[in-house]
Each structure stands twice: as C-alpha cells, then as structure tokens.
C-alpha cells in the first residue's frame, strides 16, 4: 500500500492551505470554508492512523464521525452569525466587525 507518511503529508498540506486561508482571507464565509479544509485534514489523519495502526479497533473512524457532527454544528452557527452580522452592518468582511475591539 501507499506508505502512511504520504497520507500524513497530504493532510499536512491541506491543513496549511486552510491555515493560510484563515489568516489571509477578508470575507468571513471564505474563512469558514478554510476552516472546513482544516477539519478535513484532521479527518484524513484520524482515518489514516486508524487504517495503518489497529484497523480492528474502530475508534479512529468513530472520532472522525464525531468531527463530522461538530463540523456541521460549527458551520450552521457560523453561517447564522455571518448572516446576522450582514443584516446589521451590510458587510461580511471580518475586519469591519470591530464592535468589541479595544
């Protein structure tokens, strides 16, 4: 099979792409999409370690499934927040939301 470190390398690259997106994008929805990329990188790692470690122990897949649940909750609340902010400020640029900035 493909060596384990190839999967880890793809996962690391995907995580760093998502990190770049979170740090550099201005639009809040684009930041949320980059967070999705980072969560998927974590999922690839979980499933790859499950497969190459102890495939008879299903815990790796179970944790990946919990990551799905948390991602769905996170994106629902995040998009609701963004839409609410857009209603009040007519903007989805993250730098414009500076109400709690000291």
């Amino acid at each position: 099979m493909v060596p384990l470190y190839m999967y880890l390398l793809v996962s690391a690259a995907l995580f760093c792409i998502g990190l770049y997106g979170v740090l550099s994008r201005r639009n809040a929805i684009a930041i949320l999409m980059s967070i999705e990329l980072m969560l998927n990188a974590a999922n690839i790692n979980l499933v790859a370690f499950w497969r190459y470690g102890q495939p008879e122990n299903i815990s790796g897949q179970a944790f990946a499934a919990f990551v799905f649940v948390v991602a769905a909750a996170e994106v629902a609340v995040g998009l609701a927040l963004i839409i609410n902010i857009y209603r009040q400020r007519r903007s989805v640029v993250a730098d414009d939301v500076d109400l709690m900035k000291w």
Partner: protein, 212 residues
C-alpha cells in the same frame, strides 16, 4: 513509493484535494471558491475510500458536499459581496510564510526525510506500508460501538444534543425580528390577489345615505 494502481489513484485524489483547496483560498470569486471546496471535499472522500473506510466516504459526500457546502453556497447568495475588490487582507505575505514554515516543519516530522539526511531523533518516521487487513464487518462494528455503553454511547448522545442545540440556536439567530413580522407586505398581497372590493364600496354609500 513504487508505481501501482493504488498509488496512482492516491496521487489523483491527492491532487484533487490539494488543488481544490488551493483554489478555495486563492480564488477571487467566492461562489467559485465554494464549488472548488466541493471538489476538494470529494477528493477527501476518495482518500477515505482508498483507506477502506467506505462509510466515512459516503458520509463525506452526503454531509459535507450535500449539506455543508450547499449551506455555504446559500450564505454566499444571501450576502451579495461575491466578487470583492481584494480577496485577501494586507497580512497575506505573513500568512503565507507561516503556512509554508508550518508545512515544512510537519513534513520534516512525518516523512523519513530527516532520517535519511542523518538527523537523529527528529522525524517520527511513519513508514508503515503493510497494515493488517480491515475486518469484514467494520461498518457494523462502527454502528455497534456507537450504541455500546462501554464505548461511545455517551459521546454519541452528547454529540446529538450538541447538533440539536446548534441547529436551534442557528434558527433563533437568523429569525426575523418583530418589526419584520409586522411588515404590511402580506396585506398588500391579499389586496392584489382579491380584486373584488366594489362590493364593500357598494355597501358603504348605502349606509351613508341611510344615515343622512
């Protein structure tokens, strides 16, 4: 890594995943970014299938591509700033440096590159290539583990409560305010839909006349 069919499929799905991800964070049009996010998530589903996790591959397609990406597209449609003048802020060079340095660090740890270069104790050298085969009933085992009180039943219930609370909270947050509820739009619609007011007009003058 010798060139087999499996490694070719792995390279294909890796390219789809990473190429889609790069386009997500660099493209100017946010709607195109959401479509590229779907492509990248599809590549991740392919990697799951290659890792013999078919249930997670299916869930990835159904939940991520079918629900989360569509939700993101809805949000993009509701906030019409699709083509911003500048997609990235003025710290994108620092962000790029941070991302590249972190990737170099992670790559030097997970690959056996540093061991080959002669640096002792740096890499974790995950060089497993031939894991034991996956049990036949791994999906049934996953389902049983979720309802087993000794394993994942409590986290499973907590996750369902979390999802429920998050969805109710999201609905409450985007609910229109009280002033929007009392907007006169439905009344106007009813007047347009019912073009028979002469009856009321005919009754009223009669009443006025009788009073006079």
């Amino acid at each position: 890594m010798e060139l087999t069919v499996e490694s070719l499929v792995f390279l294909l799905f890796s390219l789809i995943t990473l190429g889609g991800g790069l386009l997500v964070v660099t493209t100017r049009n946010l709607f195109h970014g959401a479509l590229f996010l779907m492509l990248s998530l599809f590549g991740v589903a392919g990697l799951f299938a290659l890792l013999t996790a078919p249930f997670l591959a299916g869930i990835q397609v159904v939940v991520y591509i079918g629900a989360i990406a569509i939700l993101i597209i809805f949000a993009i449609m509701l906030t019409p700033q699709v083509t911003a003048t500048r997609p990235s802020n003025n710290q994108w060079i620092a962000a790029l440096v941070v991302a590249v340095v972190l990737f170099a660090l992670l790559a030097s740890i997970v690959t056996p590159l540093m061991d080959e270069l002669g640096v002792e104790g740096w890499g974790a050298s995950f060089t497993e290539t031939d894991p034991p085969p996956v049990p036949e009933d791994s999906i049934a085992d996953l389902g049983a583990a979720f309802v087993d009180p000794q394993r994942f039943m409590l986290p499973f219930e907590v996750a369902s409560i979390l999802l429920m609370a998050a969805l109710v909270g999201a609905v409450m947050m985007v609910r229109p305010s009280r002033e929007d509820d009392e907007a006169p739009a439905p009344v106007e619609a009813a007047e347009v839909a019912e073009p028979a007011p002469p009856r009321a007009d005919a009754v009223e003058p009669v009443l006025v006349e009788s009073q006079e």
